[in-house]
Symmetry: C2
Subunit: 189 residues, 2 copies
Amino acid sequence: MARAGLSRERLIRAAAELADEVGFDQVTASALARRFDVKVASLYSHVKSSGDLRTGIALFALDELADRAADAVAGRAGKAALTALANVYRDYAREHPGRYAATQFRLDPQTAAASAGRRHAQMTRAILRGYDVPEPDETHAVRLLGSVFHGYIGLEMGGGFSHSAPDTEETWSRVLDALDALLANWPKS
Amino acid sequence: MARAGLSRERLIRAAAELADEVGFDQVTASALARRFDVKVASLYSHVKSSGDLRTGIALFALDELADRAADAVAGRAGKAALTALANVYRDYAREHPGRYAATQFRLDPQTAAASAGRRHAQMTRAILRGYDVPEPDETHAVRLLGSVFHGYIGLEMGGGFSHSAPDTEETWSRVLDALDALLANWPKS
DNA sequence: ATAATTTGCCTAAAGACCTTAGGCAAAGTA
DNA sequence: TACTTTGCCTAAGGTCTTTAGGCAAATTAT
């Protein structure tokens, strides 16, 4: 019987696509097996468990997203960099909702440390260099930016802004303006 | 055989407690049945489905949280109100992680409209009255506050701030300072 | 080229969960 | 006390996860 040519890489890639189509938490070993026209048990040679599969998607997405972010901030500074980074996150979430969701999958500390998480923090930090945020406050600012991006995207995708009047594009740009202003006049501690 | 005295109310209450103990997405009809020492099928007279159960928890949590929020903002204005509201959310998330998670469960528009969601938006809006945010910008500000609260709590609970230096309490208070300052000098559109 | 080994996918099976259908006994009503 | 309703039960079919053991295809060695 011909082989299907499975591999951890291919499985995770396909699982990421599946996540975008049906939602991250609907990603199931069975569905993935079906997609490869293979029996479920066959996946277990390549992936330790269902959780391991999810972890794989998360790491993949984190990495892909970090690559895009790095591209976006390269050669930009100040508000241009801020906007570019923010839009990368938001666009990624819209384009690849499943992968974006995977991005928030809780990883154990080990795995998290080895993930692209650091790169993300690093990039946000880089943006602050275009502003006058004093060094000891950097982490606070990084966390604030992370919160706003993550929070806004979460609410927007979750339909939290659905039935209110002004469209979300405008709010988004106002939010970025506000963040820019805030970083520009960072309150002296 | 003596009856267990199930009811939709009791089931949802217990499910909310279960959620806090094992996590919202580990809330399962089976686990709940076990807790009542009852067969799983018995739940289906009181609850339409597993999803219906989750919806129930979500509505319950949304309501409980809105009550706490209302208490907190009552008699306060300006920064005091802002801080109080923000802390209600954060404290609730820490005290009742499962219920807080339920709060973000995606409801269908019908159900969402009938939920306490409006009350939440209303309270955030009320806080803006202590600041000079022009009326047409209110929605933008409400969304920004929601994003920051939701985003910060999500990252903090998800361990996103775990292995960085300054403690999260300080960041939190700096974030609230920043929001206060931002609302106080809301940029003219 | 053939033999030996490794690897990949399969079948089988057991456990957990969800959900529906139909039954019997307890609670509530006539 | 007889009748009706309601609550929890058993039974059963379906999905998903995971482990164990087998056979055949691919790879490597002879």
